[in-house]
Each structure stands twice: as C-alpha cells, then as structure tokens.
C-alpha cells in the first residue's frame, strides 16, 4: 500500500488490512509447510520403494546362490558317477560323457549369468540408495531450471506480441525485438549447458568414490575371511567376493575386467595419472574440476601436507643415492617362501616391501637369477606404465649391483627423448628421458660429461613449449612433478627458458582462479620451496580456503 493511502487510512481500516496481511502470511506458511511435508513424504516413499526393491533382489540373489550350489553339487556328482563308470575313457560312451558334461556346465553357466544380472541390478539399486540425496537435488534443480526456461520462452512470446501491438510501432522495431529475444534464448541455453557440464563434473566424483568404496568392501571381506582362518590366497577370496570362480576369471571377460579393475584400485589411488589407469578406468571422471577440488580440500585440511610434499621430493634423490648401500638381510626362508617368490617373479606379480626383502636374499644367495628379476621388472613396467628407473626402485637394491642397467636406461632415454609432446601423457616423454639420465648419473656417479649438449633435447622442448605458447601443453609439462625439482636445480637446463614457460603456467593457474590442472599443486610447492615463487604468489594462485 502506498504512503498516501496509509495516511488516509482509519484505525479500523488499518486493523482490517493488518489482519488480512497476517492471514495471508499464515496461509503461505501453512502451504509451504504442507509442501515440504509432501516432499518429505514423497522422498520417504521413493526411498522405501528402493529399499523394497533391494530386499527383493537380495532374496533373489540368495535363492539363485542356493540353486547354483545345488547345481554345482549335481554337476560334480554327475561327473563323478560317469567317471566311476569309466564312461569318460570308453570310446562308446565318450561322446555321451562329453555332451552330459557340457549340458551340466551349460546349466551352471546359465544360473551364473542370471546371478550376475541380479547382482548388477542390486548394485544399481544400492547406488541409487546411496546417492539418493544427490539424485534428488539434481532432479529438483533440473525441474526448477526447466520451469525457468519455459517461463523465459513464454515471456519472450509475450514481449514480441507486446511490441507488435504497441501503438505506432514500426517493422524495424519488431525486428529489433525479435533479435533481443533470440539473443536471450541463446544466453539462457548457454547457462543451462554450462550448469549441466559443471554438475556432471561434480557428479563424476560419484563413480570414483563408488569404486573406492567397492574396493574397501572387498578388502574388508578378504581381511575378515583371513582372520577367521581362511587359508586361500587373497585373490581367491576376492574372486569369491565377486561371486566368481577362477574359471569365470579365465573364460568370462566381463568378470576378468571387473576383478582386475577392483583389485587395481590401490594403483589407481597412487598412479591415477598413468596411461594404464586411464585406459582401465575410463568411466571415472578425470576432469580438472573434481581433482582440483579434492586437492584444494586436501591442502586446506592440513597445512602439514604442504611441508610433507616438499620433503618427499627431497627424499627421492637421497634414496636414489643410497641405493648402493647394499644392506642385505640374511635370513632363513622356507621352501614355500622361495617357491612363492619364484612364482611371483615369473608372473611379474612381485610387489610390497616384504617380498622385496625376501627377493633380495634369494638374489644374493644366487637362488634366483638377476636376469629373471630384470625381466620381471620389464613386465612390471609394462603393467604399470612406469619408467624403467621408477619401476626398478620397487625391486631389491642388490639387483642394480649385479646388473649394469645403463644400457636399458639409455635405450629408454633415447626412444623417449624425441617423442613429440602430448598433453594426454602427464609424464611427458622428454621428461622421462631427462629423469633416466639423472638417475644413471646418480647411480653410477657419472657426473662428468653432463654438458648442456646432453640436455639439448630438453632445452629444445622448453623452447618449443615457449614458442607453441599453448597452456594445455605447458600445464602438462609442469604436472610431471618428479622432474620439476631436478629441472629447477640443473645449470645445464635452460633456466631462463624454464622460467619463461613456468611464468606462463602460473598465469594459466591465475586465470583459472586457483583451479589447477592435476598435479599443478605439487609443482607450485616445489617451485615455492626452490624460490621460484614467493609465499604471497603461491597463495594468490592457490587459495587456502575455498
């Protein structure tokens, strides 16, 4: 009500007006409350339906498990009965034996396929339950934006009609109004497209979290089984967790893929930038957004993290220099240990500190040949996508004492150094070569002869990056954090050129308002520690809080 009318208003009129206002306000409050309750009720019903569906699928799964168990027993009994009768060896009955065996195997496979189907449905329902709140927010958001877009379209039409019917309007005015409306539509579509992309990036984290959670569940399952006296190997129990057998793993690519992915999650956690991981975890979002967000959260959680990161990079070279220490632990290993290590070496499954110590003893005693271990290193390298030198660090130090690895290293360096730059490969090839040269230098003490000429290829790449001036390539270059400290500290490297492209990298980071490409944080930390950027600059690029 405008001021003029309020002045003229009598006390009774005012009382009536206030009463009406209060009633209207109360009514709105009641309606809002009712709407909220209806939404809560609807959500509870949806969640209830999902839980019922979960229960139903779990029952189906139990049922199918019993059927599989029964079918398996029957299959074994059928086979044993026929074998007892010698049908498998009798020419006359051999074909009958084979067809019966394949019939029971077929029945069993059918049941297993059915089981996999139910399990997949159950996983989907579980995921829907787990992400229920997120899904609801997305659904509400979509509805609200859809409404807003419809509203804009309706208003656009009205605006055109208003202009068209306005007294004295000319054709040119109508044309301008149509352009305005068309521009509005374009802008609104852009907003919707951008928000869709951003939301997909946020939701993309789901899959990552999901796969970690799945791994943790499997890990707990295996640990519990082991604690309760299960003597099987961990991978056998893990297969059991997936409801699969070794035969399934060999014959069913779907199961193999699932198992491999799940058991490789720890690798994913440590080496999420390797090509191997990217090829095998294609469905996980590697977007800038999610990884940056997490890195920033990680850093803001604990400032010690920053110092630890820098210390780690100091350690890398110290550990390399200490490789010749050769402190062998001589201990008595059982025959079982020896066989296990031998088998692991032949399958390149060797991993872990404990295995490393045992292998060291076998190598030292000459029970295992160093060439076999070297071939295991090669297989391991192919499996993980690590460089020769990096993968070597996972193996006993004495290996390097027994075999001159210079040839392998220089071969790798030579093939890697001339490869073109590729933004998709975070550990860029020229940098791999650079690292290999530094590594042999540290290992064999070949400090002489390391001239600028030897580093020409890396200086050429720096120049190429500077000329190319493409932020994507520059960012990719600076995400290879292991090389950064070495690059910054070597006088043979064109430091001015490096500084030029590093400044471009910093500019790129600033432009993105602190949103760094993955690994950028590590580079900045090293740069800060080496005096390339100040504390203030670091904070400007990398806000402590988000």
């Amino acid at each position: 009500m405008d001021l003029e009318n309020q002045v003229k208003e009598s006390p009774l009129e005012k009382a009536k007006r206030l009463k009406a206002e209060k009633e209207s306000k109360d009514q709105t409050k009641v309606e809002d409350e009712a709407k909220k309750q209806a939404e809560t009720q609807a959500n509870a019903e949806k969640l209830g339906a999902l839980n019922n569906s979960k229960q139903d699928l779990e029952n189906q799964l139990n049922e199918i498990n019993s059927k599989i168990e029964a079918s398996r027993s029957e299959a074994h009994e059928t086979r044993d009965t026929m074998k007892e009768g010698g049908l498998d060896k009798d020419e006359e009955f051999k074909s009958e034996y084979d067809s019966t065996i394949s019939e029971v195997a077929g029945n069993l496979n059918e049941l297993r396929n059915e089981k996999n189907k139910i399990k997949a449905e159950l996983e989907q329902v579980n995921s829907n339950i787990e992400n229920f709140d997120v899904n609801e927010v997305i659904s509400e958001g979509k509805e609200a934006t859809h409404e807003a877009v419809k509203n804009v379209e309706k208003e656009n039409e009205e605006a055109i009609i208003q202009v068209e019917t306005y007294p004295g309007v000319g054709v040119e005015n109508i044309e301008v109004a149509k352009e305005v409306v068309s521009e509005t539509n374009k802008e609104v579509n852009q907003v919707i497209e951008n928000s869709g992309k951003n939301i997909s990036e946020v939701v993309g984290e789901n899959k990552e979290t999901e796969i970690f959670k799945n791994f943790d569940k499997m890990d707990t399952f295996v640990k519990e089984k082991k604690t309760s006296g299960d003597n099987r190997k961990s991978w056998e129990i893990a297969l059991d967790y997936l409801g699969a057998t070794q035969e399934d793993y060999k014959n069913n690519p779907e199961i193999k893929n699932k198992f491999d992915k799940l058991t490789n999650v720890p690798y994913y956690r440590n080496y999420k930038d390797s090509d191997y991981i990217k090829n095998n975890y294609g469905e996980i979002s590697f977007d800038k957004f999610s990884s940056n967000k997490k890195e920033i959260i990680r850093a803001s959680e604990n400032t010690d993290f920053i110092n630890k990161k820098s210390e780690n990079f100091d350690k890398i070279d110290k550990e390399t220099a200490n490789i010749f220490d050769g402190k062998f632990k001589l201990d008595n290993l059982s025959e079982k240990d020896i066989q296990e290590i031998k088998s692991n070496v032949s399958k390149a499954e060797f991993n872990g500190k404990n295995d490393k110590d045992k292998l060291e003893i076998l190598l030292d005693k000459g029970i295992i040949d160093s060439k076999d271990v070297l071939s295991c290193v090669d297989k391991y390298r192919a499996k993980t996508g690590m460089t020769f030198f990096d993968s070597l660090s996972r193996f006993p130090d004495s290996l390097i004492k027994k075999i001159d690895i210079r040839n392998s290293v220089s071969q790798e360096a030579n093939t890697e150094k001339d490869k073109p730059l590729n933004t998709g490969d975070v550990r860029l090839s020229p940098l791999k070569a650079f690292n290999q040269i530094i590594a042999t230098e540290i290992l064999y003490g070949e400090k002489s002869g390391m001239t600028k000429e030897k580093f020409k290829f890396i200086n050429d790449k720096i120049k190429e990056l500077d000329e190319k001036n493409d932020p994507a390539y520059i960012s990719a270059f600076f995400t290879d954090t292991e090389s950064m400290k070495r690059l910054f500290s070597r006088p043979e490297v064109d430091q001015q050129g490096l500084k030029n492209i590093f400044n471009k990298f910093i500019d790129e980071c600033r432009k993105n308002d602190g949103a760094l490409v993955h690994g950028g944080l590590d580079t900045l930390l090293i740069a800060k520690k080496n005096g390339y950027i100040t504390e203030e600059e670091f904070k400007r690029v990398y806000p402590e809080k988000i």
Partner: protein, 61 residues
C-alpha cells in the same frame, strides 16, 4: 591442529544446489536485461511518436 571434518555428500549436495541457484540467478539477470531492451524499444517508439506529434503541432502553427 584441528582437522576440518568434511562430509563429501553434504559438500556435493551444497555444490549442486549452488550451481543450480547460480543458473537460476543467471537466467534472472538475462531476463531483466531482455526486459530493459524491450522497454527501450517501446520508449524509442514513444519518443519517435512524440517527436512526430510535436513536429505536426509546429507545422500547424
């Protein structure tokens, strides 16, 4: 040092809500901009009309 407790789902929900709210706000700004431009077109029509009337009056005098 006290570590900040983060609930990833809560963060994600807030983030999604913010993104949708941002989109709605952006649409609102675009709408206001459109209304302003349409109003200017109508004002332009009025101004031309007034100018013409004034011109006519002047001619009559």
């Amino acid at each position: 040092m006290i570590k900040k407790q983060l609930n990833p789902d809560k963060n994600k929900i807030d983030l999604i809500k913010n993104l949708y709210n941002q989109a709605l706000n952006d649409i609102d700004v675009i709408k206001k901009e459109r209304d302003k431009k349409i109003l200017n077109i109508l004002k332009d029509v009025d101004n031309k009309h007034i100018a013409k009337v004034l011109q006519d009056i002047k001619n009559i005098k």
